[in-house]
Symmetry: C2
Subunit: 461 residues, 2 copies
C-alpha cells in the first residue's frame, strides 16, 4: 500500500469501466434559441430527414436534429468503449512545476484509444447505428489519417466494410496511417481516384493532382450516394458527432469530483469542432443553465486557419467543392485553402455550427496561436509529462501554458482543464522539423481572408 | 450507471494509482540454490561490486546480487510510474469469441507508457538511482529504439543527460524512434560513431558498417568507463532489470483478484528476458514455493533466434564483441547473428540468467514460433481487440491463440494471461510487408547453430 505522503501527489484519476457514462449530452436542449437550420443549396429552404437519408442512417439523422438533453448510449457501443474508456484524467504536476504556476492543470488523455485519438468515440457509435439499420459498408474521407483510422477500427469491430478516400499527398507521405487502416481491414485509395466520377473528373484535368479534403469528401459522398449497401460517415462538424464526443467531458467532470476540484478554465483545440465540443459542452451546460457563470471555455485554433477569430458567421458550404447543404458557421469561405500546417486536423475553413452559435453568443472564447509557439508548448509538455502530443492537441497546450503563466503573474490558483486529444506518434516528422529549426509560421493577411469570403454564397433566411 | 447486464461483460480491470505496488519482487529469494556467479572474463573468477562500479551505481549493483524477497520502490520512482501505472488488464473477450474458445484470455497492456512499452519500468528506476548517487549523464545502446526511447524519457524526467548509440541501420530506417529520443532531450548518434575508440576502430575497417547491437554496446560501455560523470544503463538481461519489471506481474495478480480469476497459463515473449520475467516471476513465486504446482509459464522466442529452445546452457559473453563478464545462460554463441527479424527486441544470442535457471530447472517452458505465424496472430488480435501489437508482443499472442485453440479442442476452461508489452505504432512497415505477402520466415539449420556454439568460451567453474 502506498504511503500517506505519496497520496498527496495524486496524479492519475481513473474511473472503473462501470463509470462509463450511460448517456451522451445534447447541448441543443439547453439553447435558449434553436440552432439555425441547415439549408438546401438549391432551394435555400431547410432540409429534412429525407434529404439526408441517402447518406446517413435514420437514427443519426434523428440525433442530428434532436433536442432531448440526454441520449442513451447503446450497450454495444459502451462495450467497445471499454477497450479504452474511461480514459484517464491526469494532474500535470510536472508541467505546473516547470512553469512555477499556482494554477492546477489537468489533462484528459484520449490518446489511449487504439486509433490514438478521440475520434473513435463517434466512429464506434456511427458504425453501430449503420450496422443496426442493415448497412454493410461505409465510405469516408481522411486527410492526415486520424479519422480514417478511427472509422477503419470501428468498422472492423462491427463487421462493416470500410472504404477510405485518403488525400493523395497524405497517402504518399503518411504510409503508416494508411497501413494502420489496412491492418484494421479498410480499403484505402489515394484521392483523387478513378473509383468515382468526381475523382476521374479531377484526374482528367490534372493527372498529378495532390488531392484535397474537399475532393476526397466529394468522392466519399458519391460512393455512398451511388451504392445501396453504403452510407457516408463524417468525423466532425455535425451535431451528432459532437454529441458522441461529449463522453469526454462527462467523464472529466466525474474525475474532477474525485480530485475534489472544479474547473475554472476549459481548453481544447478546434478544427471542425468535435475535439473542443467533446470536452467543453458538458461544462458549457453549467454556464448555459446559470450554475457556473464565471467558467471560461476556450477554443484554440491555428492562426493559419482562424475560422472563429477571423471568419464571418454566415451560411456556407461544408465542403470545399460546394456540394453539401449550407450551414451557418464561422467560415473563412469554402474556397479557403489553409497552409500545409502539421496539425492537419485543424485545417478546415469552417467550424461546427453548435460551437459557432456558442461563440456568437459569447458563451465560449476563441484564441488563435501560431505553429512555432505551439510546438514550443508541445516540447515543454513532452519533457515534463512524458506524452508526446499530436500537433492538434499542442494548440490547446499553448494556451494552457499561457493561462498558467498568467495565473503565476497574478498569483491566482485557477484550475485549468484541457483535452489531450491524441498522441503524436505519427507526427514525429513535424517534431524533427521543429528540432532542426525548420518549422515556419503562416499568417493570413486580412485581404486574403476577405478574398476567400467573397466566395461565400449569399443566402437570406 | 451501467446496467447489470453490461457488468457481465467486464473487460477492463483498472487499479487506482494508490495500488501501484510498493515493492519489487526478487525471485532470487525463492531459489533453492543460488544463481550461478558472474565471472571475470580474464580470471574466470566471480566478479565483485568493485568490478561493476565504473559502470553502475552501487544501489543497482546491490540489487543485482541481493537476495531479499522484497525491495522497496522509492517514492520518486513511484511518482513517475503514476504517469501510466497501474497499467490496465483487459479480458480479451472479442479474441476469445473469434477463436470460439472456452478459455478466458487476459492481457496486461504495457503500451500505455509514454515510450510505448514496458521498458520505462526499469529505465525510470535506473535513472533515479544514478541521479541519487550524483551521476549526471547516462550512456546506452539501442537497436530498434524501444530501450533508447525509454531511457531518454526517464533521463529527461530526472534531469540527466542521455547519450544513445543507435545501431546505424536502425538510425537510418527508423527515424521516428530517433526523433522521439531527441524530443525527450537525448543525444542520439549512429553506431559505429567517431565518438569512441571502439566505433573508430570499426569505421577504420569498414566506413560503411551498418553497425550491430554488439558494437553499440561496446561504444556505450566505453563512453561510461571513460567519463567520470557517466554510467552505463542496460535494458534487459541483468537481475536488477528483471526485478524492476516484476511490477507488471504484481499488478496483474491484483487485477486477476478483481476479476475473481486465477491464471493457469502465463505467457510472454522473451528476447533478453525482461518482458517475460516482468509478468511471470511473481507467478513463478507461487510455483517455486509450492502454492501452485500446475501453473504453466511459457516464454516465447522467435524460431530465428531460439536461445532457450536450441541454445546451450553455459557460460558466454553478454555482448557480441566479447568484452563483458561471462554469464551462465542459454546461448546460441555470442557470435550468432540473428536474421533481420521485425521483432528487433528479440534478436539476442543469449537470455537473462535468471530466466535460464528457471528453464533449466523445469519451472518454465519455452516455445519458438516463426515470423509469419506471429504476424497472423498479430492481425487476428488487432482486428478483434483493436490494439496493434508490437512484433515482439505478437510472439506471445501466437502461443496464446495456440493454447486457446487447444482448450477449444479439449473443452477446457483455462485462464490464459499474457503480456502485451508494447504497441506497434513504429512497426507498421512490418505490417505492410505482411499484408503484401512479402514477409518471410527464417529457420536456422542445426549445423549453423552448432558453428556459432563453437565460439563459446570454455569455462570451468
Amino acid at each position: 500500500m502506498a504511503s500517506a505522503a505519496a497520496d498527496k501527489q495524486r496524479t492519475k484519476f481513473t474511473l472503473d469501466e462501470r463509470d462509463i457514462p450511460a448517456k451522451w449530452y445534447n447541448i441543443q436542449a439547453d439553447f435558449k434559441t434553436p440552432a439555425p437550420p441547415v439549408l438546401h443549396p438549391g432551394t435555400g429552404q431547410p432540409i429534412g430527414p429525407a434529404d439526408l437519408a441517402p447518406l446517413f442512417p435514420m437514427e443519426l439523422i434523428k440525433q442530428e436534429v434532436g433536442t432531448d438533453r440526454w441520449v442513451e448510449i447503446p450497450d454495444a457501443v459502451r462495450d467497445v468503449y471499454r477497450l479504452w474508456r474511461p480514459s484517464p484524467l491526469f494532474r500535470a504536476r510536472r508541467l505546473e512545476k516547470t512553469i512555477g504556476t499556482p494554477a492546477r492543470i489537468y489533462y484528459k488523455y484520449e490518446g489511449v484509444s487504439p486509433a490514438g485519438s478521440h475520434k473513435p468515440n463517434t466512429a464506434v457509435a456511427q458504425a453501430y447505428y449503420n450496422k443496426k439499420e442493415g448497412v454493410t459498408r461505409l465510405s469516408t474521407e481522411t486527410g492526415a489519417g486520424q479519422w480514417g483510422s478511427a472509422l477503419a477500427f470501428a468498422s472492423q469491430l462491427f463487421g462493416l466494410q470500410c472504404k477510405v478516400y485518403m488525400v493523395k499527398v497524405s497517402y504518399q507521405q503518411k504510409p503508416y496511417r494508411r497501413i494502420m487502416m489496412e491492418t484494421w481491414g479498410a480499403q484505402v485509395v489515394a484521392s483523387p481516384s478513378t473509383d468515382t466520377q468526381a475523382g476521374k473528373k479531377v484526374l482528367d484535368q490534372d493527372v498529378n493532382s495532390p488531392g484535397s479534403l474537399g475532393i476526397a469528401i466529394s468522392e466519399a459522398v458519391e460512393d455512398a450516394a451511388t451504392r445501396d449497401d453504403t452510407k457516408y460517415s463524417l468525423g466532425s462538424v455535425l451535431n451528432h458527432v459532437l454529441m458522441h464526443q461529449t463522453i469526454i467531458g462527462l467523464e472529466t467532470k466525474k474525475q474532477l469530483e474525485k480530485a475534489d476540484d472544479e474547473a475554472d478554465i476549459v481548453i481544447a483545440c478546434a478544427g471542425g469542432g468535435s475535439n473542443f465540443a467533446g470536452l467543453s459542452f458538458p461544462f458549457a451546460a453549467d454556464k448555459l443553465t446559470g450554475k457556473k457563470k464565471k467558467l471560461r471555455l476556450i477554443a484554440v485554433e491555428p492562426s493559419a486557419c482562424p475560422s472563429l477569430t477571423k471568419g464571418t458567421y454566415t451560411y456556407d458550404f461544408g465542403d470545399t467543392v460546394g456540394m453539401t447543404p449550407l450551414v451557418k458557421m464561422h467560415t473563412l469561405g469554402h474556397g479557403f485553402i489553409p497552409a500545409p500546417l502539421h496539425a492537419g486536423g485543424l485545417r478546415y475553413h469552417g467550424m461546427a455550427p453548435l460551437v459557432c452559435k456558442l461563440y456568437d453568443e459569447g458563451v465560449i472564447e476563441a484564441v488563435a496561436v501560431p505553429q512555432i509557439a505551439t510546438f514550443q508548448a508541445a516540447m515543454q509538455f513532452a519533457r515534463s509529462e512524458g506524452v508526446i502530443p499530436a500537433p492538434e492537441a499542442a494548440h490547446a497546450i499553448r494556451v494552457v501554458i499561457d493561462e498558467a503563466e498568467r495565473c503565476k503573474k497574478e498569483g491566482k490558483r485557477k484550475t485549468i482543464v484541457f483535452n489531450l486529444s491524441g498522441h503524436g506518434h505519427f507526427d514525429l516528422g513535424a517534431y524533427e522539423q521543429f528540432l532542426a529549426g525548420k518549422l515556419q509560421d503562416y499568417e493570413y493577411p486580412a485581404e486574403k481572408i476577405a478574398e476567400a469570403l467573397r466566395g461565400v454564397p449569399q443566402v437570406k433566411v
